[in-house]
Amino acid sequence: MPRFRLGRRAILRGAGSIAIALPWLEIMGEGRSARAAEAGKRFVTVYTPGGTVSNNGDGENRWRPSGSETDWTLSPILSPLAAVKDKLLVLHGLAMRSAVGEQHQAGIIAWLTGTNQDGAGGYSQGPSVDQVIANRISQDKAIKSLQMAIRWGTGKSHGLLSPINSVNFEDNANFDPIPPRLDPQAIFTALFGTLDPATADDVKAKIERKKSILDHVDRQYADLSAKLGAADRMKLEQHLEKVRELEKSLDDQVVATPVCQLPELVDTSDYDPFTGLDSDDNGSVVNVTTDEAIPKVGKFFMDMLVMALACDITGVASLQWTDTEAKHTFPWLGLDQHHHYYQHDGGFRPVQLEQIYTWYSEQHAYLLEQMDAVDMGGHTLLDESVVFFGSELAQPPTHDKSTMPFLLAGGGAGMRAGRYLDLTGLPDRSHNNLLVALLNLFGDERTTFGDEDYCTGPLSGLT
């Protein structure tokens, strides 16, 4: 049976034209939890490449905190997060056992899906956890989930959507990889166009026009799909679902409120978001000007992400700091080789890597602090969110994935932060169990997720 998911609105609008063979409740997802009211409200994933320095060559772990669960000290790499330490839940010791396939690709695929890579050059064999959560908590938002990436597609892409780059996978029959949004100016207009007095009138007029056009397009897909065989029909219905998402986002334009404010528009004319997209096996496309703009552009992305949540435009967001190739340079850190070079292309360079990972911690601290500065009425935006920070591997010189540097933050769904959990002693350290526990936080009470070979049930201790 195809697991073709329908948006709530798609069902309301188009039930007549879409074949529904499943009982109503089944189609709406696994039994809604009684705890749904108190389930997490927002889910954010932040990807950074190349793991961390968990062994600097002298056996020193530069990422792992020290101390006990509640009395602990940040590590050097995590030290920039001091201001939000009581909102962190550090998870040390989980193994990404489901990451089977090409070393980096399998890592980024398994991180949120808990499945093996689907053969060489293939993608995931299941949905990513953010998409499952989006179908639960974000169906009624203007945008069901928001995927954004900074300096993305840095190597080996051949102009195609490479498994090197993909972190999010649809919760549909094919688990299609989701291409992230790359152009900061286009994101700004799409999300906040009506909030910007400079463009608001123009945007509103365009919206009415677009609605007429999409209404026509909508009917064309509905009419034609009804005439086609099952496989082709499903393809057009998937397209139709996305057209309807677009229609919905036009209907639900954002309105300014005390917490929902237009982010500051940043000039990114020195930044080419598409540089490197057609890079080949021969490696990176060097674009120093664009690389120099990464800190500024990254901050702009994070500002937009925070407001997309604060304005309730979406409940689920994904931010990628580049891809697993990680082939851009860090001129602002004085590093003129790319990240992968320091990982192992140029031999393992722990000193430079620590600089890079510490910088990523600084960026993540900025994101969390901004989320923590939004007052949602007695608690902050961060308090009602779960933020999952991770990577495709643990140790860059070996691709080792046995003790992943995972970091949760926030307080959504009763997650108890301000703790450091050393999980190395668990009988089953598979990270699939963490994915199950995350789903449980959002009211999805399943007991297994991803490839069952790597899953024995939810990781306990988050709440």
Binding site: V100, D118, A120, G122, Q125, E170, A173, H216, H239
Partner: protein, 562 residues
């Protein structure tokens, strides 16, 4: 139906499990199933197929959506838009490697949004000036309230059949007229026209190649004349059908095998088919972004991104010459063993060839003790190197997997923990750096399938220039591969690869997958066997292969209705 390349291609399996290849993504069911299920359903048909039972065996024909390449070409021919606007669409899924695999094509929220945004830009450009409007239809000049409706219908009568690539119905037109009216209430006439264009460019009748089919006198289901016109046009030109194809569709000419062949030959003979041939090789070979290749300037002072761009052009011009020109061999085997290449002045200096001046490329003989054919061209061996040091695994894997279609599985399980990249500064030569691959029998099981090919190319440095030594140590370029036998150096390797049956089969399969927009599976056995046999019998003639694909059951027919 999930599909498997396994069992279709001849595979080298010597202690190295032949796994799933790229593009094995499900199309219309399952999805959650594992490999077991995939294997059960491989082929689609139950029982043994007899290719000579007098019936057509087209296998599947999943609904195809325009790629970015095709969209750019189509709006150029439909509306004169030369801006390559589809480059703003997100990258295609990998699928069969050409970005046109119907089973892998998905619609993301971003793509749906970009279809709208890009269409808005195209429509604005097509209607923003009186001259642009006149180019749409002469009636737009001097149009007023009384003539508006008539003019709109006159334009749609000409525009819509071209956009939808089929005869149109009154409903098609009426719906768009209604849209025009809705938008026209708040905006001037051209804005309404623009809205109609935007709607058409997002329509499934424009973006998808819908094939409803007709039944021929033998009871076989085949594409209608118009559907066949699109099949031919997108295969050979990567764009919408021209007037001659539409006329042939109208007259019924394209409902016969001979009619299809006649037009296939016409399209292939036309200059425009070269664009598609270039696109095919840009995707098959590691040359597409050589102009962006960065190498350490101190280590490789004569290389530059400009040279990289020339290297890509060398390979393309060489292949076009081989395939199209009378002096070319016309064959894939010939391209793999040609004793000449194409260079301009800058590239000649790079290679150390004298007597070439000017920017245009010309044919030159090469030193056949060092180079022979496509695989030894500098761009080909530079394009498979990640960094400033060669990697025989990547070079070998390219030849074995993309030229010979032999799948090498990735390490799994406990083996993963043992795999780590070699220190690029250990050992003087690549053979030393990658010695674990041959010394450790677990690694060797698979690496013996690809590393030797890379070692044979070690006389080419990371920018594709000849070297006898690496770090002062004489390069040992000898090796052997099951199925290829022994070879010493790039020239012997080139001859061995060119003569290998796997190489011929692989090339025919790659072109078929590109032409059909999917990954071949066991259900394609009849089509594939015949194409490969004919290709080999022709001495691996490339143009004959392309025509033969249009005469295959998979191209001429549609599967029976569900």
């Amino acid at each position: 139906m999930r599909t498997l390349a396994t069992g279709v291609l001849s595979l080298v399996v010597v202690g190295c499990y032949a796994g799933l290849g790229a593009g094995d993504r499900g199309g219309d069911d399952d999805g959650a199933g594992g490999e077991e299920e995939a294997e059960e359903s491989a082929g689609g048909d139950t029982g043994v197929i007899s290719c000579e039972d007098g019936r057509a065996h087209p296998n599947r024909a999943p609904l195809r959506r325009m790629t970015r390449f095709e969209y750019n070409n189509t709006v150029r021919d439909l509306l004169g838009d030369n801006t390559s606007p589809a480059n703003a669409f997100p990258s295609e899924e990998i699928g069969n490697g050409f970005g046109n695999d119907a089973d892998a094509q998905a619609v993301s929220s971003l793509l749906a949004e970009q279809y709208a945004t890009v269409a808005e830009g195209i429509a604005a450009r097509a209607t923003e000036t009186p001259a642009a409007l006149t180019a749409l239809h002469a009636c737009t000049s001097g149009v007023d309230d009384s003539s508006e409706a008539e003019c709109l219908r006159a334009w749609l009568g000409e525009f819509l059949p071209r956009a939808y690539r089929r005869p149109i119905t009154t409903q098609d037109v009426d719906e768009l007229v209604a849209l025009h009216q809705a938008v026209r209430e708040a905006a001037p006439f051209p804005s309404g026209v623009a809205a109609v264009i935007e709607a058409v460019l997002q329509s499934p009748h424009f973006l998808y190649r819908v094939e409803r089919g007709i039944t021929d006198e033998n009871g076989n289901r085949r594409p209608s004349g118009h559907e066949m016109a699109s099949r031919l046009s997108y295969f050979f030109w990567g764009t919408m059908p021209d007037d001659a194809l539409l006329a042939a569709a109208q007259s019924g000419e394209l409902e016969t095998d001979e009619g299809v062949r006649t037009h296939a030959e016409r399209l292939l003979d036309h200059e425009r088919s070269r664009e598609v041939v270039r696109f095919f090789f840009d995707n098959l070979l590691p040359i597409a972004s050589l102009s962006k290749l960065e190498r350490d300037a101190e280590m490789y002072p004569t290389f530059s991104p400009q040279i990289g761009g020339h290297l890509r052009e060398e390979t393309q011009q060489f292949l076009l010459h081989e395939i199209y020109d009378d002096e070319g061999s016309g064959t894939w085997e010939g391209a793999l063993t040609a004793p000449y290449t194409f260079v301009n002045e800058a590239l000649a200096a790079y290679y150390g060839i004298t007597g070439v001046t000017g920017e245009s490329f010309q044919k030159v003989d090469i030193d056949t003790t060092q180079r022979l054919g496509l695989l030894t061209q500098a761009g080909m061996v530079a394009g498979t190197v990640h960094s400033n040091a060669t990697n025989p695994v990547v070079r070998g894997a390219f030849v074995v997997q993309k030229v010979m279609c032999n799948k090498i599985p990735l390490p799994t399980g406990d083996l993963l923990d043992e795999v780590k990249p070699p220190d690029p500064y250990s050992g003087a030569t690549a053979r030393e750096r990658f010695s674990q691959h041959s010394e450790d029998p677990v690694c060797a099981a698979c690496h013996q399938m690809m590393d030797p090919v890379g070692f044979a190319l070690e006389n080419f440095d990371p920018v594709g220039l000849w070297r006898d030594q690496e770090n002062g140590v004489e390069i040992d370029a000898s090796g052997s591969l099951p199925g290829l036998g022994g070879f010493n150096g790039p020239v012997e390797l080139a001859r061995a690869v060119a003569a290998a049956p796997d190489t011929h089969e692989c090339f025919a399969v790659n072109w078929s997958q590109f032409a059909l927009g999917r990954t071949l599976d066991a259900g394609d056995e009849c089509t594939q066997d015949r194409l490969v046999d004919d290709f080999v019998a022709s001495g691996t003639n490339v143009r004959e292969l392309l025509i033969a694909i249009t005469q295959s059951d998979a191209f001429l027919y549609l599967p029976s209705e569900e």
